[in-house]
């Protein structure tokens, strides 16, 4: 474990420079909360269970993989409150600033009579959706988010995507699926109680950087890019955090000490999505949940990749900037952005620079990002006419699993010839990378199964993957090769919509 040496004097000085009190303000159910001192790496889960005695939220894994600790977090955006499910074990307490944390206790009347239950709770009881009951509060909260965001039953696929991050070991899920349908059949209950106006009133009085301190440790929540760049300049050792979907594991699993943390999750400049006639800009701090709609309107082929990225809770916390900044070789966003010729924009007080994303990754978990720089966002060129885009994620489990192999292939077809082929892979090397030999074997070749198959044979020139717990090197190579056959069949079905095309995918409920 690397000890973090941190100069307290420096911290206080700069802190005062940015100004004001150290304070985080939020609502816990119907209670207004102000926090000044808390360990910056304190998770919402530990805060609730250890500091607040609110034990309705359960710890199943403390790694964001089981959903037992699911809570609902409300955020005031564009004049209204939006509520989303998140893992309380991953989200750090500081990121609750200006938000409304809703826990199972909010839905639990003192009397606990059947008639007092919220429709999602009532449906779970009536459908026999709890056995041991340990996962149940998490399911209730995921269902609550679903209920709040849909006025009527949204269909099984949507339900599955909302609940894919909640594991149940007892029921086999059938009664929970039934409950998700039944809760919409009862008379709809009002959610007026979910509009904590008092929080907004109190927030208006504070305009400086919200922050937390505990001894020499601190957590900053800059609200604009200027504050962010200044903080990173002043604290070059600081780590960035947004959803905490990866960083929090260093605290809960590796028991690392907290460095200074700078949260980018409320920095407005990093939360923009713009689409103009010159291309698309995606802010680095947009969560997957926030960007997927706009992104898929341009690239509908990527929907499955986003739907299978982590769980609903993870998608509500995780950001593109977080995944890229981590330089994980197994993240799915990097291959996608590389295949789409994304440029990454980074900025510091020294200025800003852009580079092709694939050049950003230097080595295993190492990037070009300098100590004082911040990832601002990603620029995509305009979608070329005739672009074919194929996104394929292979994992042991369809939902909420990390890719053994992720392939995003982009190419254009001109007169039945393959042009501008880009094949980006995750899981095949120490960094997300393009398969240059394979691309070369596709470039300028006629569109045929034979071309695709022969190109796939070049994979082993491009990569020497590792064997690990997810898959062997042989499997990774074999599947990578085989995916080119799948791509041909899938794209061919789109091109040739006259002849009946063969089935190319299994009929899994989450797909």
């Amino acid at each position: 474990m690397d000890a973090v040496h941190f100069d307290l004097t420096c911290c206080l000085l700069v802190f005062d420079g940015i100004g004001g009190e150290h304070l985080i303000q939020f609502m816990l159910n119907d209670e207004y909360i102000e926090l000044t001192t808390a360990a910056p790496n304190l998770s919402i889960l530990d805060w609730l269970r250890i500091h607040q005695g609110k034990t309705g939220t359960k710890e199943g894994c403390a790694s964001g993989d089981c959903g037992a600790c699911t809570v609902v977090v409300g955020e005031y955006q564009n004049g209204e409150w939006h509520y989303r499910s998140v893992n309380a074990c991953l989200m750090l307490i500081g990121n609750l600033h200006a938000r409304h944390l809703v826990t199972i206790e909010a839905l639990s009347p003192a009397a606990q009579a059947f008639d007092d239950l919220h429709p999602v709770q009532r449906a779970l009881v009536e459908c026999h959706g709890s056995q041991c009951g340990f996962c149940t509060p998490g399911f209730v909260m995921s269902l609550l988010a679903l209920y709040l965001n849909h006025s009527q039953y949204p269909g099984k696929r949507t339900v599955i995507h909302a609940l894919g991050g909640n594991l149940c070991r007892c029921t086999g899920y059938q009664p929970i699926l039934n409950a998700a349908q039944r809760c919409f059949a009862y008379p709809r209950v009002s959610s007026d109680w979910l509009a904590p106006a008092q929080l907004l009133e109190r927030l208006d009085k504070h305009t400086e950087v919200p922050s937390l301190t505990s001894g020499s440790h601190c957590f900053f929540l800059p609200q604009d890019l200027g504050q962010l760049l200044q903080l990173k300049h002043d604290y070059p050792d600081a780590r960035f955090v947004a959803g905490g979907t990866d960083l929090s594991l260093e605290y809960s699993q590796q028991l690392k000490c907290a460095e200074p943390l700078i949260s980018v999750s409320q920095c407005t400049a990093l939360k923009r999505f713009t689409h103009t006639d010159t291309g698309t800009f995606i802010g680095s701090a947009l969560t997957y949940g926030e960007l997927v709609g706009d992104f898929c309107s341009i690239y509908p082929e990527t929907r499955e990749l986003f739907e299978r990225l982590g769980s609903c809770q993870v998608r509500n916390g995780g950001t593109l900037g977080g995944s890229i900044g981590n330089a994980s070789p197994i993240g799915d966003p990097a291959p996608l952005l590389i295949a789409l010729q994304a440029q990454i924009e980074v900025q510091s007080l020294r200025g800003s620079r852009r580079m092709p994303l694939e050049q950003f990754f230097v080595d295993y978990r190492k990037t070009e990002l300098a100590d004082d720089e911040v990832i601002v966002g990603f620029h995509l060129p305009l979608r070329p006419d005739g672009l074919h885009l194929a996104c394929h994620k292979i994992s042991k489990r369809i939902e909420d699993d990390i890719s053994a192999v992720c392939l995003v292939a982009a190419f254009e077809l001109e007169h039945q010839q393959i042009q501008n082929a880009r094949c980006a892979f995750g899981g095949m090397a120490a960094v997300p990378a393009r398969a240059h030999h394979t691309e070369l074997a596709l470039e300028g070749q006629p569109w045929s199964l034979n071309t695709l198959k022969s190109a796939g044979e070049h994979i082993q020139q491009d990569f020497s993957p590792l064997s690990d717990v997810r898959a062997s090197a042989e499997y990774r190579l074999q599947v990578s090769r085989n995916l080119f056959t799948r791509i041909w069949f899938e794209q061919q079905a789109r091109i040739d919509n006259v002849n009946p095309s063969p089935v190319t995918r299994i009929q899994h409920a989450a797909l």
Binding site: Q121, S130, G133, G172, I398
Partner: protein
């Protein structure tokens, strides 16, 4: 007292047979159902965390705790020398040290316990202890263990007839082998215990365990106190599945030692990753078989070898491998059989009980055999299964218990017709001929599962029924509630006796000072045993009330009726609550302890024969799957289950067990992939890498029905045990995947498909099937006798 008269009229059955929700359902959806870690620690409460070995096998040279001792919050470091009594928590056989003293036998074995003022501090300090080892080579390969006869317990075999001769005489002789993966329980609530010293020098232990009595006994032995000084309480578990039958003991005993040493309440909760690393799992197995069959697929002889990876110690492995032997026939008659079970020692955590308790691993051999026969002979697998079922005249099991209930043929026929097996079989064959990338498979597999502990003395239970003067009722029993609905069913049983509403019955924490010497809640026996004990106690009180009323009002006893919370007698009636009050003021005892011992069961291990099972539970599952030939991805698209629970005490709870058991069995055989690193540490040590089924894995069409048939034995209200049997219905998924693979060989061969059938395993099997097809399909083998053995 062992037998009870059971009323069966429709009115009388008002409580038993109702689908009432789980007794804790409302509390669970409100987050107010309390699990152990939800309890506030006392202000001076302490937290313990074990120090784990960093090697797999070797001698401990030095342990340096100096860095840990000075860390903030650290109060004490407990070593083996602090244990006042026995430093061993082996449940049946010794050999499971509480703290390893000299030798490390598996990676992450506990060495010491840090006691600190917070959970986080204890965990951090546990990692600061420096241990020096003299590493020795570890046994991690089961084939080496078999070769060296490195057993944790001696082999045991079932033998019937003349196997050698029958194999020689058989028209076809087929052989095969398979690796079967283990399984992590992944109870959502991890292992946890809280120990508090009592004023008498004893210990009060709250523990998430399926076996409070054994925790009591082990804590007493570790503390060197008589059993009566230790009380164990267990209100509810957040899942057990066998993983808290013996595996809860170490943490309870460590907490008790720490509480004894410090005089404070000590809590131990394992973080999820460590729970994966240091608690036992379902035994992986390596199975081999030879089978001799006639040309119709009728089995004449089998020679089966089942090798369980037991881990470093015996734990429950003797009984687990025995149960594998008892289920290597599944529902099929073997006229000649030799079934041998080896208990292999490997340097891993000691593998343990898990739903099915070895039965599933044995049953996999039977289902592999019938599938292999079918493909070898070119007969539909369902026909081979039906042909080999136990039936009158072919009714003797390899352990010489006669099968007496023959429902399987009827159950299969029902699913076959209602789920349209043959139409779908035809459609799938057509689909597969035209589909180059995706293949479908279909398989119907039966489950016949023996009910009773194979260790005779565990087949007993006690209960305590207390009727209060307002007519409310409190019940304690020796079983534990882990989500399976045991307390709900017990409440229904007692409510039935008094004809009152089940909501008037409170069944809560299991305590060793209420019901002594209880058996673990395991072997699917919870309701069978404890339900009967509670029924016994309630019936005694009821009889006492009848006699009191008859005497008090001078009416015939047979005029007294309990109905809809009222009590009727010649010339009068009253509320049950009024009767309770009346009995109280007339000084009639309103409490009773009940007892039950299962009749008929016995097993002579020396002769390998007996009647180990009171009865059998049955089930049939028909699964349809799809596999992707390019990636090995797979999915279950439709499942039809018909399951035999006898007369259901609570159909909703029983169906919940069936659905959940099926999905857990499916997970075991598909996505749940335990992997160890070359150094013996667990690679898949958490839900990020170990994948249990998620909600989308539930089959799109999932039909579950209860078979209409009462238990012919005198079980509680003629019901049947349901905890474990449905788990093995998941085998149909594995068999259906093999069926999809067999489409590549014109259904003449299926790769053995070791489990879990992950996408990678399936893709490898696709290659194997294609190789077989290339070698065999163009020159069809000569008909006649085959000798693969």
């Amino acid at each position: 007292m062992r037998h009870f008269k059971i009323e069966h009229s429709a009115k009388a059955m008002a409580q038993v047979g109702r689908s009432i929700p789980h007794e804790s359902a409302i509390k669970q959806v409100c987050g107010s159902a309390t699990y152990l870690d939800d309890k506030s620690p006392p202000v001076d409460g302490l937290f313990g965390y074990p120090v784990l070995a960093g090697v797999t096998c070797g001698r401990i040279v030095t342990m340096d705790t100096s860095a840990a001792t000075v860390m903030p919050g650290v109060v004490r470091i407990i070593t083996a020398a602090d244990v006042p009594g026995l430093n061993d928590v082996g449940p049946v056989f010794k050999g499971d040290p509480l703290f390893a003293e000299q030798n490390v036998e598996f990676h992450s074995q506990p060495l010491l316990l840090i006691v600190a003022t917070s959970y986080e501090q204890a965990r951090k300090a546990a990692r600061a202890v420096q241990v020096e080892y003299e590493v020795s080579p570890a046994q991690l390969d089961i084939h080496q263990a078999i070769k060296q006869q490195d057993w944790v317990r001696p082999p045991h075999a079932l033998e019937q007839g003349n196997v050698q001769q029958a194999l020689v005489n058989a028209r076809h002789c087929i052989s095969g082998q398979m690796h079967i993966g283990g399984q992590e329980h992944f109870y959502l609530e991890g292992q946890i215990s809280i120990a508090s010293p009592t004023e008498d020098g004893g210990m009060f232990v709250q523990c998430s365990t399926q076996n409070p009595a054994e925790i009591q006994h082990l804590v007493a032995k570790v503390l060197n106190r008589p059993f009566n000084y230790v009380t164990v309480e267990m209100r509810r578990m957040g899942g057990g599945f066998g993983g808290k039958e013996t595996q809860a003991a170490a943490w309870a005993c460590m907490a008790a030692v720490a509480a004894h040493v410090t005089g404070k309440t000590v809590r131990i909760r394992l973080a999820r990753g460590d729970d994966f690393r240091i608690t036992g799992k379902r035994h992986p197995f390596f199975n081999r078989y030879q089978v001799g069959v006639d040309e119709t697929g009728l089995i004449e002889a089998v020679d089966i070898e089942l090798n369980g990876y037991c881990g470093y110690s015996a734990d429950l492995s003797d009984a687990i491998v025995d149960r594998a032997l008892f289920h290597a026939d599944n529902a099929y008659h073997y006229p000649n059989a030799r079934i041998n079970g080896n208990r292999c020692r490997v340097n891993t955590v000691s593998h343990t009980a898990f739903r099915g308790f070895g039965g599933p691993q044995g049953m996999m051999a039977a289902e592999q055999i019938v599938d292999d026969i079918a493909y070898h002979l070119g007969i539909d697998p369902l026909k081979v299964r039906k042909r080999n079922l136990y039936r009158p005249g072919r009714d003797l099991t390899p352990y010489r218990q006669r099968i007496e209930q023959f429902v399987m043929a009827d159950m299969i026929a029902q699913v076959e017709s209602e789920a349209r097996y043959w139409q779908r079989r035809e459609a799938i064959t057509m689909f597969n001929q035209l589909s180059p990338l995706i293949k479908k498979g279909l398989s119907l597999t039966p489950v016949k599962f023996g009910i009773s502990f194979t260790l005779q003395h565990l087949n007993q239970a006690g209960a305590l029924v207390l009727v209060y003067s307002d007519g409310s009722v409190h019940v304690n029993h020796g079983g534990t509630e882990m989500g399976q609905g045991l307390n709900t069913k017990i409440a229904q049983i007692v409510a039935q006796v008094f004809s009152i509403d089940a909501e008037l019955i409170l069944v809560n924490a299991t305590r060793t000072d209420k019901v002594p010497n209880s058996s673990p809640t395991a072997a699917s026996s919870g309701t069978d045993l404890n339900g009967m004990a509670a029924l016994n106690a309630a019936n005694t009180i009821r009889q006492r009330l009848v006699e009191f009323l008859a005497d008090h009002h001078r009416v015939p006893a047979d005029s007294v009726r309990f109905e809809s919370s009222r009590v009727y007698f010649a010339g009068g009636e009253m509320d049950f609550s009024e009767l309770a009050q009346l009995a109280y003021v007339n000084r009639i005892s309103l409490s009773e302890s009940g007892f039950y011992a299962t009749p008929k069961v016995h097993y002579d291990r020396d002769k390998a024969e007996g009647h180990p099972f009171f009865y059998f539970s049955h089930g049939v599952a028909l699964s349809e799957v799809e596999i992707d030939l390019l990636t090995g991805e797979n999915t279950v698209t439709r499942v039809d289950i018909l399951h035999d629970v006898g007369n259901s005490i609570n159909p909703a709870i029983d169906i919940g067990q069936i659905e959940g058991g099926f999905i857990q069995g499916m997970g075991w055989l598909t996505t749940e992939d335990l992997r160890w690193n070359a150094d013996g540490s667990l690679a898949s040590a958490g839900p990020a890498t170990y994948k249990i089924p998620a909600i989308g894995d539930t089959p799109a069409e999932f039909n579950v029905s209860l078979y209409d048939s009462e238990n012919p034995e005198t079980s509680v209200f003629k019901s049947k045990a349901v905890g474990e049997p449905p788990f093995m219905l998941g085998i149909s998924v594995w068999s259906a995947i093999r069926n999809a693979l067999a489409s590549l060989t014109d259904y003449r061969f299926a790769p053995s498909l070791s489990t879990p059938a992950t996408p990678e395993a399936i893709l490898n099997a696709v290659a194997e099937a294609r190789q077989w097809a290339a070698a065999h399909l163009h020159n069809p083998e000569a008909t006649g006798r085959t000798t693969e053995c």
